[in-house]
Symmetry: C2
Subunit: 362 residues, 2 copies
Amino acid sequence: MTITISIDCMGGDHGPSVTVPAAVSFLKSVSNAELILVGRSEIIQAELHKLKAESLSGISIVNATEVVTMDDPIEVALRRKKDSSMRVAINMVKEGRAQACVSAGNTGALMAVSRYLLKTLPGVDRPAICTILPNQKDGPTYMLDLGANVDCEPQHLHQFALMGSALVSAVEGKPRPTVGLLNIGEEDIKGNDLVKRTAELLRADHQRGVLNFYGNVEGNDIFEGTTDIVVCDGFVGNVVLKASEGVGRFVKNALTAEFKRNPVNMLGALIARGAIRAFSRRMNPSRYNGASLLGLRGLVFKSHGGENAFGFEWAIRRAYDAAHHDVLSRISRSIAELMPASESTPHVAVPAQGIPSEHKTA
Amino acid sequence: MTITISIDCMGGDHGPSVTVPAAVSFLKSVSNAELILVGRSEIIQAELHKLKAESLSGISIVNATEVVTMDDPIEVALRRKKDSSMRVAINMVKEGRAQACVSAGNTGALMAVSRYLLKTLPGVDRPAICTILPNQKDGPTYMLDLGANVDCEPQHLHQFALMGSALVSAVEGKPRPTVGLLNIGEEDIKGNDLVKRTAELLRADHQRGVLNFYGNVEGNDIFEGTTDIVVCDGFVGNVVLKASEGVGRFVKNALTAEFKRNPVNMLGALIARGAIRAFSRRMNPSRYNGASLLGLRGLVFKSHGGENAFGFEWAIRRAYDAAHHDVLSRISRSIAELMPASESTPHVAVPAQGIPSEHKTA
């Protein structure tokens, strides 16, 4: 089956100079994919021309006259720029012309426009942002939410756990992936009010056999790979993600500085360059680029705004994998199957087509 | 002036085999310090004997028959083990026989016993745990709270900011250290309800010239050294700290694995061993060991439970520095000066001598 993905070519810090080469490189590596490049067609054409890829099979261009900038308030993206590349690309998913959309545009706008156009899945109050992080077991740890929801109730974290579980089960082929609840200790008595009440819901699901709830996990467990999925509210997730990236950069810079300190160290680094390259490759955050906006009636993937073509191609790859593994219907089924049983928990009604206020969207 | 520090020698995973060598090593490096070693005197004597340090000047032993274990519930530490080394060591601070106390015992028990014996400073609702983290500017970033308070109100974060500022101003000799509020974006509209309301209090203090409030900072700013102090609630702080330690270990293991992969890499690592050693030294978490329990009427420092003697010695050093720079009266003055002006903000009355319930103490 051919998977069609719409690409918001104008989003991100670099726009078409990154998104178009990534799309071309991706298409060369995958046979059953089609990419719809959305944006200012003359600019996209020029980029394709540079790459001698005008006639590459599987590529088409859809013109969109406007661009959502990284600083545009959500309201501008939603109400004013109705012909933005972001909106047109998401709309293709809504109309069934694409199975997934990828954008490096600003997160708040992407979430708001996606939610406005696609609506949330039945049983989902709030979509969440989910990404993967590397762990010591050489596998990915899936973590959500990463900033879409900064003030959460237990039922939101509960839904994140179900959605994350359905995603991992589909993409990683694990029938019963483990779910950890991010906390400050392993014991049940630890944590704030939110996680304690969430743990009750997750334990109940575990007992019913619908979720493989491991229990509480701590910050270090994310990188130890203790569980397949780590669930937290968007405030905590966003801060942890950025702090981890900060540690990564700090370590890399410190190591580089030491290797450059004197000729002996430089010689050692030259001889061990294979090790350093392999290490850098494994630590390269671009390899983990591509967060999914889960809980919508369509697949939307978000690339970091500052990513290079290598990183953006990873985001396309994740979108492709999710579509290929039919993540959307798996999540819908998961949530639908569970909803009757868990409807006894109080659900906050969030209008699916409502415009999220700023404080709900990072 | 001689600084006297009481050491809970029995605390931590390793007890006297770590704490006593650390104390001896510290005393050899500092001339105007006295250490009171608290715990089972025959065991401490035996450790001193091994180190040929029985007659080292500046050391004295105070016998305490009980030990608070790492698993002891707070209630046991508070109500049952009244002759524990932890409690006797803290009591020396209360009685003015020591200017500071250091323990590697379990955090919840240490905070509860300290709070029970020493009480909080006037104007402080809740003590906080503050530690330093390394940053790219080669300086320390002070971060609080790290787990003492998992459900915070804005006035608590406000007090953390004032206490952190007084600490850094005293210990680092910076008259106006910068304070950042940990958030998911720099803009004022970002964040959850707690940080938005806290920002209002901090901005008001900034305008009155009593606090150098930088504004919001993100996770990565901790390690970039954007501000001298980063303030957050104890849940977020604890998770971020442990996640950062997790990234550090992950990176270290990945690098080691690559250097050991083949003889060429091993040769390079051998030649560049100076670089690798310097890097490991800088990244060694033991160098940043020693968190202060701020907001009490006495100085108490907490070492990681699993630290070695090198790390425990750093915790003693931090306690010594804090006492030497008269951190306690500086914090009292800071809080006292500010209280009349900030009393318009609603304060939650927390009984100073109350036993903190588990969910308040990590």
